[in-house]
Amino acid sequence: MANLLWLQGGACSGNTMSFLNAEEPSACDLVTDFGINVLWHPSLGLELGENLKKMLNGLVSGQIPLDIFVFEGSVVNAPGGTGEWNRFAGRPMKDWVADLAKVAAFTVAVGDCATWGGIPATAPNPSESVGLQFLKRASGGFLGPAYKSKAGLPVINIPGCPAHPDWITQIVVAVATGRGGDLTLDEFGRPKTFFTSFTQTGCTRNMHFAYKVSATEFGQRKGCLFYDLGCRGPMTHSPCNRVLWNRQSSKTRAGMPCMGCTEPEFPFFDLAPGTVFKTQTVMGVPKDMPQGVDKTGYIKLTAAAKAASPAWAEEDIFVV
């Protein structure tokens, strides 16, 4: 039996909603099949008031073992580093986080806000938000760059806005069943099993990407969303087109550009008007190239791809 505690900081509950929709395994499977004891969760926890505080104090003192500490939302430090804007069970949430992270066997950050600050930490960051171990791309965050949980791992970061339900439950199961040591993390603490490939990997529009045919409107079935509509699929690490959403689809499959929400910089361009769903260019050439591609190579590739493209690439082949 592994004890799991889930707390929320500066959060919209989006990752909780995602978690509750998990299918493989589901949130119920965690309890019934994998022996996870959910001590408390903002949407599932039964304890209130003094009882909750007593339980939290029991965890901090070591009286109750804390196997998995899951945190959702940013760590709020405002005003002036006190954390008073986000109080929980009688004290600033950040103080609970500091104490619980010390005793947790594994610490898991779920969603962009918990991993690197997310939208709340976007300038001017009035809530003085940070992620557990990162602030955007900078290592450190609330717990500091040297933090390791009792099992010897840094914070396991599962980013996304929200994180895919199955990324959450599968990592929790791995940890709860004693396979936490097998997890390999990238330089941002993300499990490599999910965050080595790109959002573009498995995208149904890859042939349009290859032949340089652009989608010009949202929802179009023909064309790639990277060239004009700001899709960040080629430079975003996520399995959104391998582990499908609702087991059905993904944003790019449905004709909406990837917004790069599993990367530390999300939201890109500070959400300035006209920048989110428009590929940013310099003299007509994309500012952000697919990872590992340079401008000269890109232009050469485009010329060759266009010259070689078949006629069907210009048609809507999904219409019968």
């Binding site: 340089k212 652009s214 050439v285 994309p286 890109y298 232009i299 010329a303 266009k306 010259a307 006629a311």
Partner: protein
């Protein structure tokens, strides 16, 4: 538009450019705001105002700039249809032409 109509329009456009139609090749819309401004200008034209589209779009009948950019590499160019797929333009074009809404 039928293939015949498209070919006929392509000839008309080619003649206009060959006869020295002056178009706004500059300023090149470097930012997305500037790009959007050109699109706005195009949207205000009558859909059949071909000459107006060529002028505002900054069309030329040859590659352009130090890197000799051309429609052939532009994201909006459909090779087989010889067609510019940018909704605000939607005109037949030759692969060696260029306009200031060029993007790759």
């Amino acid at each position: 538009m039928s293939i015949d109509d498209s070919n006929q329009l392509l000839k008309t456009i080619a003649n206009l450019l060959a006869n020295g139609l002056e178009t706004k090749t500059e300023p090149f819309p470097e930012t997305d705001k500037q790009f959007a401004d050109v699109l706005t200008e195009l949207r205000q034209l009558d859909q059949n105002d071909i000459k107006g589209k060529l002028v505002v779009g900054g069309f030329v009948n040859h590659p352009y700039g130090p890197d000799q950019y051309r429609c052939m590499e532009c994201m909006y160019y459909l090779v087989h249809r010889k067609w510019c797929d940018l909704p605000e333009l939607a005109v037949p074009v030759e692969p060696d032409w260029w306009c200031r809404l060029w993007r790759i």
